[in-house]
């Protein structure tokens, strides 16, 4: 029957349903008329004729119905009927509908969120780039596969590209931070130095302007051109249409902007979006003092290639190896057995995406499981309802409804629920994604993922909703359609023990899982709490942080020292400033402090295998006063500690205790390389890298003696943020090509350090809540079903004298049993598992009794509330009606 012609006719029938109706109506009417006339002709009266004709005709409606069935116009009509019936039915039981939609929405939403990430990382990971599947990463490594990953020099890049014969092109890039000055502002910009063919190999079409021309990237230092990102064009240049040709100053040198990248484009690196693209030939200009472009030994570029059509990764490897061997013979001093690895982007050892993708895949499995549990829950709920509707179903069957029609109608109902849940799920998914993005750590890299609700994600959600609807709707539908008409009409309500065992196990399992998740979340939350209250060792209130970097602008150490000294003097003189200092890596910075080896520590005999070393920071004068770190012995740094004077250091308590126990550290000396350092002070311990650390040894050195070009200004004042503008003006007046960045109150900086704790607590919290909601709904469904099955029994009990309280006790007792078992199992599992979390917790034991007790109480309350509603329904059973059900 499903030939092409028939399908075509059915579709036509759908469209011209009305016309088919009219068609039949007219045809049959004519037939009636003609028979009537014939009857009249054979002698009957008009009325008699007509009556006979109608009688002869039989049931017109049935003929039409038959006709509809055959000709197919009926399908649409039936569907609409089913939909309206389904919606009405769902509206009549709002509690069920709400519970079902909520459950499914959570499951579907979680899947949508994870799918968005999958799309961003594995499917649509290089937006605006044509055919990223033809791109490969080319890290430098040894021929035997070890030693990954190093950079490649520019001359080598050219040789690989031109000689290997397997690439359409090879591009190279390297991250660079620069100070950019426009007509109005100075700012720090994260950019990349790229080869001239960068946009060509990626096949990215500029949004405005153009990419680099070949002769612009031939000779070093000739064409000072740059491309900016769409985001920067909007943020900094206000989407100015005349941006092409605009001049800016980068690290003090003039550059011309020639193009703007498309809005979605980030860079050649997955997950990173840069604002500025500078050609390789300008590298010596922006990094004065080094010319890495022509140097075959400068392995500074990361490479990526586009394979020629039809070239496999294997062939590419051979081609690359061939060139590597040639280069080895031609330039033996560059080392032996070095080559480039060839990896499809998603498997590249350079980026993080391979790890993240595997994490995402695991998460997909997890949320898939969550959705299955949600479906099982809703299936349960529907079964409870189906049992109640058994009578109605039996009647409909007796009246001639086909079983197929019944199943179809139930499926329609399920699909309505599922699609509604899908719509809510999209919102849930969007929120979840937004939440997850907020938890991405704030590294010093412009992380930007292409995570968003685009057409593909919506399509996925829709498909998943339909699948979900079919999954949980099929089972009750089939059960219902198997209803024997006679037994159902006789209303023998025997509960099916086999099925209910499975149901109970499912509910107990859900309760146990939510207990485990809730306890983990609780522990993380308490850990977060102690983190907030931890003693950091310094006072981060009322302090402003402003970072600068003079290196890009080509400052010599002397110039740098003078600059920072002058800046510090002038900042201290600003009104409202209580004190100010410098530090390279303030405590709890995301980028850790430097480490150094120490050749000798006076008075300390190192062990046989012990290597002496410490981490240290270079700081300005008045450092300890500004951050209110007590200097327990000796002093901090003063203006007397100049470059020419005796090299001094300040140690922390741990250092002194470790190397000079029970001795006075003042006056002791430490040798670093050739230089002897004298200890002039000992400061109280501070949290240097993480809040959860302890026992770190630490050293402070004065900036004038141990110079670094990138420093952070720390300014203590009553209203720290108000000093931002004055400091900006001050800096501008000294050197207008310098940019300030990382401007924030120190309390925000400290908050960032807690980000990982926050992330763990939030993530676990969300999952735990999800599990709890599902478990509660599961309990509700189970008890609800049980009540509907035991209506008769309850009626009997009440008739025999049971009070309402007794009925409550009966039902709640049943629920309490399952909850208690689930709770017990959950607590046992938690007690075992949480010890593995101890490393992540701060200030709290993994067996923290308050958490365990609190969660148990929470679960018991939630569970009993879930039982309450069906229990109340049970007490409202009218014994007389219930008994009559038999």
């Amino acid at each position: 029957m499903w030939t092409v012609r028939n399908v075509y006719r059915r579709i036509r029938a759908l469209i011209w349903k009305n016309e088919i109706e009219q068609d039949m109506e007219e045809e049959l009417r004519l037939h009636l008329q003609m028979r009537t006339e014939d009857n009249v002709a054979s002698g009957m009266s008009t009325e008699e004729a007509r009556r006979q004709a109608i009688r002869r005709f039989g049931n017109i409606e049935r003929i039409k119905e038959h006709g509809r069935d055959i000709r197919g116009g009926g399908f649409m009509e039936v569907l609409i009927q089913d939909i309206r019936y389904g919606v009405r039915l769902l509206a009549k039981s709002p509690a069920f509908t709400l519970a079902a939609v909520l459950t499914l929405a959570l499951g579907i939403g979680a899947n949508t969120a994870i799918f968005s990430w999958l799309k961003a990382l594995a499917l649509d990971y290089m937006p605006a780039v044509e055919r990223p599947q033809d791109l490969v990463a080319l890290p430098g490594m040894n021929a035997d596969g070890s030693g990954c990953c190093s950079g490649v020099s520019y001359p080598n890049l050219l040789d690989y590209q031109n000689r290997s014969g397997v690439f359409d092109g090879i591009l190279g890039y390297e991250i660079i931070n620069v100070n950019m000055r426009t007509q109005t502002d100075s700012m720090r910009v994260q950019g990349t130095i790229v080869t001239g063919n960068y946009f060509g190999v990626l096949r990215v079409k500029p949004f405005l302007g153009r990419a680099f021309l070949p002769d612009e990237t031939q000779t070093v230092g000739t064409h000072a051109v740059a491309v900016i990102s769409h985001s920067m064009w909007q943020r900094v240049f206000g989407a100015d249409a005349g941006i092409v040709g605009r001049e800016v100053s980068i690290n003090g040198r003039p550059f011309t902007l020639i193009g703007v990248t498309p809005p979605e484009f980030g860079s050649a690196m997955v997950g990173l979006a840069f604002d500025l693209f500078i050609p390789v030939t300008m590298q010596p200009v922006v990094s004065p003092g080094s010319n890495m472009v022509v140097n075959r030994g400068s392995m500074w570029l990361d490479l990526m290639g586009r394979l020629k059509p039809g070239v496999t990764v294997e062939r590419a490897r051979e081609g690359i190896l061939k060139v590597s061997r040639q280069l080895e013979t031609e330039y033996p001093e560059s080392g032996k057995d070095k080559t480039l690895g060839v990896f499809p982007l998603l498997q590249s050892p350079m980026g993080l995406q391979s790890e993240i993708v595997s994490v995402i895949v695991v998460m997909m499995a997890v949320v898939g499981l969550v959705l299955l549990i949600a479906c099982a829950n809703v299936s349960n709920l529907m079964l409870a309802r189906a049992a109640v509707r058994q009578r109605e179903t039996a009647v409909r069957l007796a009246l001639g409804a086909g079983r197929a029609r019944l199943v179809r109608q139930l499926l329609t109902e399920s699909l309505i629920l599922a699609l509604a849940a899908g719509a809510v799920g999209v919102v849930v998914g969007a929120w979840t994604v937004r939440g997850m993005l907020m938890l991405v750590p704030q590294l010093d890299l412009p992380i930007s993922f292409n995570v968003g609700m685009d057409r593909n994600v919506l399509l996925f959600t829709f498909g998943l909703s339909v699948l979900t609807g079919i999954m949980f709707g099929l089972l009750p539908g089939l059960r219902l359609s198997k209803t024997g008409v006679a037994p159902a009409l006789k209303e023998t309500s025997r509960s099916q023990t086999g099925r209910s065992r499975l149901r109970t196990v499912l509910v107990v399992g859900q309760v146990a899982v939510s207990v485990v998740l809730l306890i983990c979340a609780g522990l993380f939350l308490r850990s977060l709490q102690s983190t907030y209250h931890a003693d950091l060792g310094f006072n981060s209130n009322d302090t402003l942080m402003v970072s600068l970097d003079v290196f890009p602008n080509g400052y010599t150490p002397d110039q740098g020292r003078r600059f920072y000294a002058q800046l510090l003097e002038e900042v201290k003189a600003l009104p409202g400033v209580e004190s100010a200092t410098l530090a390279r890596r303030p405590p709890l910075s995301m980028r850790g402090a430097r480490g150094t080896g120490l050749a000798e520590i006076e008075g300390y005999q190192p062990g046989p295998d012990e290597e002496l070393g410490t981490i240290y920071d270079t700081v300005g004068t008045k450092y300890f006063e500004t951050l209110q770190i007590p200097v327990i012995r000796g002093r901090g740094f003063t203006d007397e500690d100049r470059n020419e004077s005796q090299s001094v250091v300040v140690v922390n308590e741990n250092f002194a205790k470790r190397y000079w126990p029970n001795q006075d550290p003042i006056g002791k000396r430490i040798r670093r390389g050739d230089v002897w350092l004298e200890v002039v002070g000992m400061a109280r311990n501070v949290k240097y890298r993480e809040i959860s650390e302890s026992g770190r040894v630490y050293l402070y050195a004065p900036h004038q003696q141990v110079y670094e070009p990138d420093m952070t200004l720390l300014v203590r004042a009553k209203d720290p943020l108000s000093l931002t503008e004055p400091i900006r003006q001050l800096t501008k007046s000294i050197d207008k090509d310098l940019a300030l960045f990382g401007i924030m109150p120190m309390s925000t900086h400290v908050g960032n350090a807690m980000a990982s704790q926050l992330a763990a607590a939030s993530g676990a919290g969300v999952f735990a809540l999800l599990a709890l909601v599902l478990a509660v709904i599961g309990i509700y469904g189970m008890i609800s079903y049980s009540v509907s099955q035991r209506t008769q029994e309850i009626g009997v009990r009440m008739a025999l004298g049971a009070s309402r309280r007794d009925v409550y006790g009966l039902i709640l007792g049943q629920g309490a049993r399952s909850i208690a078992i689930g709770l017990g199992i959950g607590l046992a599992i938690s007690a075992f598992l949480t010890r593995f979390l101890q490393g992540l917790l701060f200030g709290i034991r993994s067996s923290d009794p308050i958490t365990f007790l609190g969660i148990s109480a929470l679960l018991l309350i939630a569970g009993m509330v879930a039982c309450y509603i069906p229990a109340r329904r049970a007490t409202q059973v009218d014994p007389a009606t219930a008994l009559r059900h038999e």
Binding site: E26, E27, L28, L30, F57, G58
Partner: protein, 114 residues
Amino acid sequence: MLKERTNVLQGTLDMLVLKTLSWGPQHGYGIALRIQILSDEVLKVEEGSLYPALYRMEEQGWIESEWRASENNRRAKFYKLTARGRRYLRAESEAWDRLSGAVSKVMKAAEDAI
């Protein structure tokens, strides 16, 4: 058993309708009338059987329909035999001859023919 007889009856009706149409296009009432007259009033086709049969045969492509003016200039839906229908009619006709011939032989057989 009951189902089979319905099928046989249904198939036979189809054949009769197609035969009627083989003499030229006709509308539903006309088909019923023709069968009635040709069978000497023995076969009176019910409307409840006729129209479903016509719709079904149209779905299967044995007949086509067209709204035309009838003998007395009224608008009526005329059915016409298609090439496929003609082929089907021929096949069914032969099958029916075989069947009815066989049945007759058995019914008319003398007891001692076995």
